[in-house]
Symmetry: C2
Subunit: 140 residues, 2 copies
């Protein structure tokens, strides 16, 4: 999978928060229900998003989650890189850790992996939550 289930869940969750960004904090369980996400799993996802500063949490009776920034200021790439840090370009498996690499210090493939990585980063970098909201309002 190019985009893991977890990332898709996370995106849907943020989308749900964005959609109701005027309202009071939204409970994890509400989001889970609205977006058909396993509730317990969503909890761990939200916790991570909290730690990485994308959302703000409030505990207690009227607790829940809020976006930390306006939807236009959160890109899909922000989310993805927040979710897992080891999201860099492919390393050429032959060049890593082995002295048997046939392309010492001049790997032919690295540039290719980087290109690919950058290509998807650009797509996700230029799409914000607001963009997704807009698409929702005006179905093309």
């Amino acid at each position: 999978m190019l985009v893991t289930q977890k990332k898709q869940y996370a995106l849907r969750a943020l989308f749900e928060l964005a959609r109701r960004s005027d309202q009071a904090p939204i409970k994890s369980s509400e989001i889970a229900e609205a977006q058909a996400i396993p509730p317990r799993f969503l909890e761990v996802i939200m916790a991570k998003l909290k730690r990485s500063g994308l959302v703000i949490s409030k505990r207690g009776f009227h607790g829940g989650y809020l976006l930390a920034r306006p939807p236009a200021d959160i890109s899909v790439a922000d989310l993805f890189t927040a979710l897992d840090e080891k999201d860099r370009p492919e390393a050429c498996s032959a060049c890593v850790g082995k002295s048997t690499c046939p392309f010492m210090k001049n790997c032919v493939f690295m540039p290719l992996w980087e290109e690919a990585h950058n290509a998807v980063e650009r797509v996700f970098g230029r799409t914000s939550l607001q963009d997704l909201l807009d698409r929702d309002q005006a179905p093309s």
Copy 2:
């Protein structure tokens, strides 16, 4: 991983074939050694490349593998799609198989996954084995 180990092995194998495309058939074991690939694993990879028509095989004493087409006519994308057929854009996990999908028939995310998928396809589609060879000759 954006590009699995298997695909990287396969690419390196094809690269090795391209590099010596003037010569007689090259044994799987030779390729394995030259590119530091687990020999037994490479066999299954080569078999698949054979079946999908990217390489030609010859059995017996002076047997081995040859590229089926000139290096300039084989793109990295050709290889990857040959290796696994289920290499399409991400499906929105909420939309698939469930009637619980919150975005009935108007998914906001699908276009995004498609964009990303196309972006990497384009990178791999425009890079041929010959391109890689050239990079090897003239290190920038």
